[in-house]
Every structure is written in structure tokens, then in C-alpha cells.
């Protein structure tokens, strides 16, 4: 399972690196980092034709570096934030499970210190809790990352 994940990520990275291995495409990403733009606007700002811009945008879109949406009769391109969306989803699920575990630990501590605590009503999604709670799950989100900083 981990191997599949690695291969998938390797594939994503290759796609992304290939997409950015071109000066025109990097210039397009640069322009879209400023603000969302239509194809024609990008073509006006770069020394390439509009069809060429469209082809470059397709490569960037396949690599999930940009996404597009229809605005009226135009198609507006903007940078994709897939990574950020994944991070938010992770954080959301993380806190759902972690806070339940925290509450259980705090209540257990309180009981151990001599005062009974009444049962606590469930306040977060039971399924999330079940998914996140097992302490020795082999599933590790973000498992292939390593850290850049060793703290000082």
C-alpha cells in the first residue's frame, strides 16, 4: 500500500516537474500567481500565440498546477491549490479525532484524581473517531515526508 502511494506521488511529481520544465509554462504560472487570467490575456503578455498558450495551459492543468472555470463566455485560469486543500482536509479530520481523545484523557485524569465525571455526550462524528482513534494504525497521512528543519 505504501509502495503504491509512493509510486503515485512519484508520478505526480514527475508530471509536475515536467510541466514546469519549460520557460513559457513557468512564465504562465508566474502570471497566474498575480491573479486569475483568461487565455487571451496571457497570450497578450507573452511572445507566444494563443493556441500555444492553450496547449501549455492543458499541460499545467493535467499536472494540477492550474485549474479553470467558465466565467460568462470566457474560461478563466487560476493556480490550483490542491495541496492546500489536502492539508485543510487533513487538519479538519485530525482535530475531529484528536479533540475526542483529548476530552477522554482529561476526563480520565479528572476521575483518577478523585472526582467522578458524568458521561460526556458524543460531540463529534463517531466514524471519524473510529478512523482516527486506533493508536497503532499503519496508515500515516503525509507518510513519505521528511523534515527540512532539525530544531536547534
Amino acid at each position: 500500500m505504501t509502495t503504491n502511494l509512493l509510486l503515485q506521488r512519484r508520478g505526480d511529481a514527475d508530471l509536475t516537474l515536467n510541466a514546469l520544465g519549460d520557460g513559457t509554462r513557468r512564465a504562465i504560472v508566474d502570471l497566474l500567481a498575480e491573479r486569475p487570467r483568461a487565455v487571451g490575456e496571457i497570450a497578450d503578455l507573452l511572445p507566444v500565440t494563443r493556441p500555444a498558450v492553450s496547449l501549455h495551459l492543458k499541460v499545467l492543468k493535467d499536472a494540477r498546477l492550474v485549474r479553470d472555470e467558465a466565467v460568462g463566455t470566457r474560461r478563466i485560469y487560476r493556480l490550483d491549490q490542491t495541496g492546500l486543500e489536502m492539508l485543510r482536509t487533513y487538519i479538519d479530520r485530525l482535530w475531529a479525532g484528536a479533540l475526542d481523545r483529548f476530552a477522554a484523557a482529561a476526563e480520565a485524569t479528572h476521575r483518577a484524581e478523585g472526582r467522578d465525571a458524568p458521561p460526556r455526550p458524543a460531540t463529534t462524528d463517531a466514524e471519524e473517531r473510529a478512523r482516527l482513534a486506533p493508536p497503532r494504525s499503519t496508515r500515516t497521512t503525509g507518510s513519505t515526508r521528511t523534515t527540512r528543519d532539525r530544531s536547534t
Binding site: 506521488r9 491573479r35 476530552a103 482529561a106 485524569t109 493508536p135 494504525s137 507518510s143
Partner: protein, 177 residues
Amino acid sequence: MSNITDPAPDTSPAATDPVERDIVVRAPIDTCFRVFVDDFATWWPSEHHIGDDRTITNFVIEPFVGGRCHDVDTTGFECQWGTVLDLDRPNRLVIAWHIQGDWTIDLDPALQSEITVTFTALDDHSTQVRLVHDRLERHGSGAIGVRTGVSSPGGWGGLLLRFGDVAEGHDARPLPT
């Protein structure tokens, strides 16, 4: 020919909305704060750490402003994923979150989101704990690169080379300066 009307900011609202969670704990506020911070390792889900090959032996929040939030693995390596920005025992805790959208850690303050945990005593033996994890857009600004950074060696290209390194099982190369 119509103009593009008000280009939306280049962030997806769904991706940058704060994560907000509330829970009522049947324990006094002092106990809640102590367990949250000082007994962090007793409740933090142990699978939530960075590095599949690491076995974690401890999770720590150092209880003072500037303190590190980190885990410790069997080799003694300490991975810092957060920093205490504010601590007002037993009422409030603010932590910077350094984990980026590409699952690397970057301690640059411009790229950190913030976790604010507020403890409110409902009575002598119950406490409301509210957690807000916001400023998530800062991770996006790092991921997409600021305008001047995008085409620089330390911009997209460098970040993605690091991504590739890690995806292949190596340590990420340092970003060029």
C-alpha cells in the same frame, strides 16, 4: 467584449476557511489545560507524525512562549511541527503550525498557520474547549509561490525538486538561497 469582472482572489474559499471545533469536557479548566499541554502525549493520535519510517516515543508541547511542539523518535530525532506563540494558563494557547501543503515542514513565519485553543469554565467540573485553526492561506502562499519567487530557483522548481526527492524516499535537498 466583456471585461473579466473582479477576478476572485487566487485562493479557494474552501481551502482557506478556518477549521473550527468545539468540545465540552467533563473536567475542570485547570485539568483540561494541563492535559492538553503537559500531557499532550497521552492523547495526540500517534499516527499523526511526519515520516513513515519513524517510530515515535514522545509528543511534546513545551509550555512557554517560543516553546517547540515536536515529536521524538526512537533515534532521538526531534521533529518540530509547531511553535507556541502565546500561552495563558489555563485560558488560552496559540500554536504556529509549520506543516506545509506538500507535507514538508518549513519554519518560515510567513508560511505558518495558527491554532488557537480557548478554555472556558462552564462550571467547576466542566469546560468548553474551542479550537480554531486559521491563517491556512499562508500555506497556500508558500505552495504557489509569491510573484517574485515563482520563477526563481527557490520557487516552484526548487520546491518540486524537494517533493521529488522525498517521493523517491530520499531526504529533500536544501532549497537554494
